[in-house]
């Protein structure tokens, strides 16, 4: 069922970038997602000229003398990061690895825009150092989709048209994904508690709640597990 064309396109687009590892898809699950994605897909390919999107990594990624090296897994891929012992994960993701989907909002773990998963737990990447993550597994918004198959939350976010400016939404989705992984049918209160640390300046909160419920319903109907980043089949 996996469509080679999509694979190729993803590879072209994410040249040099780190993506979620490929997993097997359940056919009926993939169908709807592909239909939706195939339409949008062309648009992405056009919108990101390769020279901008896959620009050479800045000099920070090259080995600098005296810089320690930290091995961790990012979106399923082993990476060695040569960064200062104090560098927060946020800036290693954005400036060293080019994973800019994780956003800077406050730098003090108050806004949630930088939320990623570390060993499946939601953390604020602005406030955790790379040097404390050796051997850990990090998942970012770029690695949430299962190959070309969107995570049900991503699909729900598109269907509900949640985003206004969109800047905080990656962090919102990562917090929501961690919630669904441990609570497949959250109440409004559960959502409020889990996402209280994710601020949205545009005020999309009601649609965030709707999208999470929609994704939960999808999981319920599909009988799939919700562990993002792990086998879903």
């Amino acid at each position: 069922m996996f469509n080679d064309m999509f694979n190729d396109m993803f590879d072209d687009m994410f040249d040099g970038q780190i993506l979620g590892h490929e997993r097997n898809l359940t056919p009926q699950f993939a169908g709807d997602i592909f239909r939706n994605l195939s339409k949008n897909y062309k648009a992405i390919a056009l919108r990101f000229p390769p020279d901008l999107h896959s620009s050479p990594l800045p000099s920070a990624v090259t080995k600098e003398s005296g810089m320690p090296e930290y091995k961790l897994k990012v979106n399923g891929t082993d990476v060695n990061l040569n960064v200062d012992v104090e560098m927060p994960l946020l800036w290693a993701l954005r400036d060293v690895l080019g994973l800019v989907g994780t956003k800077y909002g406050c730098g003090i773990a108050q806004c949630g825009a930088c939320t990623v998963h570390v060993d499946d737990m939601p953390v604020r990447s602005c406030s955790v150092k790379v040097s404390d993550l050796a051997g850990k597994s990090v998942r970012t918004i770029e690695g949430l989709a299962n190959g070309t198959e969107l995570h049900p939350l991503q699909q729900a976010w598109i269907d509900v048209d949640v985003a206004q400016c969109g800047y905080c939404q990656g962090g919102q989705i990562m917090s929501a994904a961690a919630l669904l992984a441990r609570n497949p049918d959250p109440s409004d209160n559960d959502i409020n508690t889990a996402l209280e640390g994710n601020y949205c300046r545009c005020g999309t909160y009601n649609r965030i709640r709707s999208a999470i419920h929609q994704a939960a319903d999808f999981y319920d109907a599909s009988g799939l597990s919700m562990n993002s980043g792990e086998d879903t089949a």
Binding site: K42, D84, E86, R94, T102, R201
Partner: protein
């Protein structure tokens, strides 16, 4: 230090806004409103010329001459594509590219404008791919502000779509050997009305581009009854990128060999950097350079500061924390919020410096014993924009070889991309043809991203280090160096007669000014509701000159006046022993225009309709549990009539719960129903977030707040549901980015009064002891 320098980008917002407003007032607006939405309109030649003027100097004629815009994306993959006009390209395999010309900051314009084109063209939305257009004169005014993009662009977008449609029909007429009047463009095809023959836009593209460009005067717009795209709910065109974390925003820009920059300015606005521990900073990890910048002493361009350059954002932020600067603060701001409040309290019973509107005789009414006369003193603080994406700009200044010209390339999330041209010229001597501007998606703006200081800083850093530099502000920079919504004070007095009718209104408005000019939103206009509706009015203004930069903040003026006026009207209704709804409708009066024919002015019929609708939908007058209350407010701004009813409950500890806000809106026809409801939901929650706990204060010229820990924002548990109703009147569509915000604070304040009997006159609510 100078906040406002004539003739430069300091004035950019005012200039653009003025020109946008001028475009939307008087004759031209009458012309626009003539093309009302209720029936198909055929623009006359005269109308067309006026509209082309509106769109920016002959744009329409230029725009429909096929040519490739400078700096356009590489569309090499678009096989056999043709350009029908500046906004539309179609490939032989049927893909339709529509350029969205204006900046997207969350207001949904990148989706809404192409919807209008696709509708008029007869395209199927699924075939459309939307690209952000290059910054180029061919696209007209590429700004966003004042909720003006939809009203300015609606007819232009229709013309672009209709002219492409006519070229397809012309091509099909030749290919199928059928008369044009038997052909119809729909679903990306041209179909024969009386047979099943049809050809797709893709098949027709090569021939369509050879068709004569239609005389704009001959274009007939689609009957709204036949709309299949306009008025539907369309998911935002960037949603896939947003939900998968693709590079999209200004701050995501990465170009080869790019370095990272931070720029540190004096915390007392306008202070000058004398010296700093630069050698120590240069030794810090990842730092490649650090230097003092003199700047030009202009707040909106380049203030004196310290630039730090490095190999990552963290490297420069980290180094900045260790920065030790010796500032000369002799000319820096000395502003103090405490002193401003003290001064306003001293002046609240004074007549006021400047008359705004004086008619009838308020004092006669105030003196009548049978009248009930109320006084009230309202106050609201400075607030920050707090955009989620901090200010940033990436610049690449390329010094040329001897005899050649330097060039500049900038990537900016901004409401006015072309604002970089004048500073590139005045500060760096670069002409327009030496500058390439990329407009990036904005992670929120709300009026913030209009000035160009973060652009000038990036250009200066790039020029100095000879490499592209991304200048990123920390959250602390973003708060300390915002252009705030200014605080202010209104001292009100009004009378109701023995029949409970509002008969006199007095307002001494105290607002901020900078270099003698009123701050954005800090001017009491003589048209402010309800002054035009009354016979006896005395309105004056006193301005407090300050140095703290102020700028437009979502619905300038309206966002504070909506609270003050609608709260005081509620006080008067209560004093008169009357129902607020009935009292408000009586003030509104019979349906009429105050400026006949000008759809940018208040229409009391549209006002009454939204007030009645909001009241009906909210169940106005119903019994609510003890501790609950309903509050009503109406505000007209940005050509939009909006009424809101809030339902709240308050416990004995003044803990407030806002349960629901019912909103009724008339902005004419809705383009994207999903986007429109998003704007209303967002504006209501933004307004509540602001009224509940947001307050910027300054002492000795220093802003006292710096980040989320000391600036309260509304979180998901406290977001009320928002129940939205549109009256899709036949007037031309107007913008919705701002006007749903102003009524909400009044509605919530009035609901608190209904629940508790306590009147809120000071913002934010935390000042009055409330919490959420």
């Amino acid at each position: 230090m100078s906040n406002q320098n004539p003739g430069n980008t300091d004035d950019l917002y005012e200039t653009v806004k003025k020109s946008l407003e001028e475009q939307l007032t008087g004759q031209q607006v009458e012309q626009l409103s003539d093309q009302s939405h209720g029936s198909p309109q055929q623009p006359s030649r005269r109308t067309f010329l006026k509209l082309s003027g509106i769109a920016g100097g002959g744009l329409v004629l230029a725009a429909i001459i096929p040519s490739h815009p400078a700096g356009a994306e590489d569309l090499g993959s678009l096989v056999g594509s043709v350009e029908l006009n500046a906004f539309i390209k179609v490939s032989s395999d049927g893909r339709i590219i529509i350029y969205s010309s204006n900046p997207e900051m969350g207001q949904g314009i990148k989706t809404a404008l192409p919807m209008i084109i696709a509708e008029e063209m007869g395209a199927k939305w699924e075939d459309v791919e939307v690209l952000q257009s290059p910054v180029d004169d061919r696209f007209g005014t590429q700004g966003a502000g004042g909720s003006t993009t939809i009203p300015r662009s609606f007819d232009l977008m229709r013309q672009m779509g209709a002219s492409a449609r006519e070229m397809f029909i012309g091509a099909a007429s030749i290919a199928m050997e059928l008369p044009r009047n038997e052909l119809k463009a729909q679903n990306s095809n041209v179909s024969h009305l009386v047979s099943d023959r049809s050809l797709s836009f893709g098949e027709l593209a090569a021939l369509a581009v050879k068709q004569a460009i239609p005389d704009p005067g001959s274009l007939v717009f689609k009957d709204p009854e036949d709309y299949t795209i306009i008025g539907t709910s369309v998911s935002g065109v960037d949603n896939l990128e947003i939900t998968t974390g693709m590079a999209l925003f200004g701050i995501d820009t990465r170009v080869p060999d790019m370095l990272y920059g931070a720029y540190h300015k004096c915390p007392a606005i306008g202070g000058k950097a004398i010296s700093a521990n630069l050698n120590e900073i240069k030794e810090m990890p990842g730092v490649t350079d650090a230097f003092l910048v003199d700047g030009n002493n202009r707040v909106r361009e380049l203030l004196s500061g310290v630039a730090i350059i490095g190999t990552s954002t963290w490297a420069v932020f980290n180094a900045k924390k260790k920065l030790n600067v010796n500032w000369d603060e002799s000319e820096a701001s000395k502003d103090s919020w405490t002193q401003l409040v003290r001064r306003a309290n001293q002046l609240k019973n004074d007549p006021g410096e400047k008359e705004v509107l004086v008619k009838g005789n308020v004092n006669k009414e105030f003196a009548r014993k049978r009248n009930k006369t109320l006084t009230a003193f309202y106050q609201y603080p400075f607030v920050s924009h707090f955009c989620m994406e901090p200010m940033n700009c990436t610049a690449h200044y390329k010094a040329a070889a001897e005899g050649e010209k330097d060039t500049l390339e900038v990537w900016i999330p901004t409401q006015f991309p072309a604002g970089a041209y004048p500073v590139a010229k005045s500060m760096f001597g670069l002409e327009k043809d030496q500058v390439t501007i990329h407009q990036m998606r904005l992670g929120g703006s709300f009026g913030r991203r209009i000035s160009t200081e973060y652009v000038c800083e990036a250009i200066e850093m790039s020029r100095r280090v000879g490499a592209p530099v991304k200048n990123t502000w920390s959250r602390e920079d973003d708060v300390h160096h915002d252009y705030f919504r200014s605080g202010g004070f209104q001292s009100l007095k009004a009378s109701v007669d023995r029949n409970g009718k509002l008969v006199a209104w007095q307002n001494h408005f105290m607002g901020m000014s900078i270099d003698g000019r009123n701050a954005s939103g800090a001017t009491l206009r003589n048209s402010e509701f309800p002054m035009l509706n009354l016979k006896n009015v005395h309105a004056t203004q006193t301005s407090f000159d300050i140095d703290t930069p102020c700028g437009p903040w979502r619905a300038p003026g309206a966002n504070t006046n909506g609270f003050v006026v609608q709260s005081f009207i509620n006080e008067l209704a209560h004093a008169a022993g009357r129902d607020h709804l009935e009292f408000l409708l009586e003030i509104i009066g019979k349906p009429r225009w105050f400026k006949p024919g000008n759809t940018r002015s208040l229409n009391t019929g549209r006002a009454a309709d939204v007030i009645k609708l909001a009241a009906t939908e909210a169940g106005w007058g119903r019994k609510v549990p003890r501790g609950y209350g309903l509050g009503l407010a109406f505000h007209f701004s940005h050509a939009a009539h909006v009424a809101e009813v809030a339902e709240v409950s308050v416990d004995s500890n003044k803990k407030l719960k806002i349960h629901n806000v019912t909103v009724a809106v008339d902005v004419g026809p809705i383009i994207n129903m999903s986007g429109a409801t998003s704007q209303v939901e967002g504006a209501v929650i933004d307004g509540i977030s602001t009224m509940v706990g947001q307050k910027i204060t300054m002492e000795k010229g220093r802003i006292e707040q710096s980040n989320f820990h000391d600036y309260q924002v509304l979180r998901i548990p406290n977001a009320p549901t928002v129940d939205i109703h549109f009256i899709q009147s036949d007037y031309s569509p107007t913008g919705l980015g701002e006007p749903a915000l102003p009524p909400v604070a009044g509605a919530v304040g009035n609901a608190i009064f209904a629940a508790t009997g306590h009147r809120v006159r000071t913002m934010p609510l935390t000042e009055e002891g409330y919490s959420v």
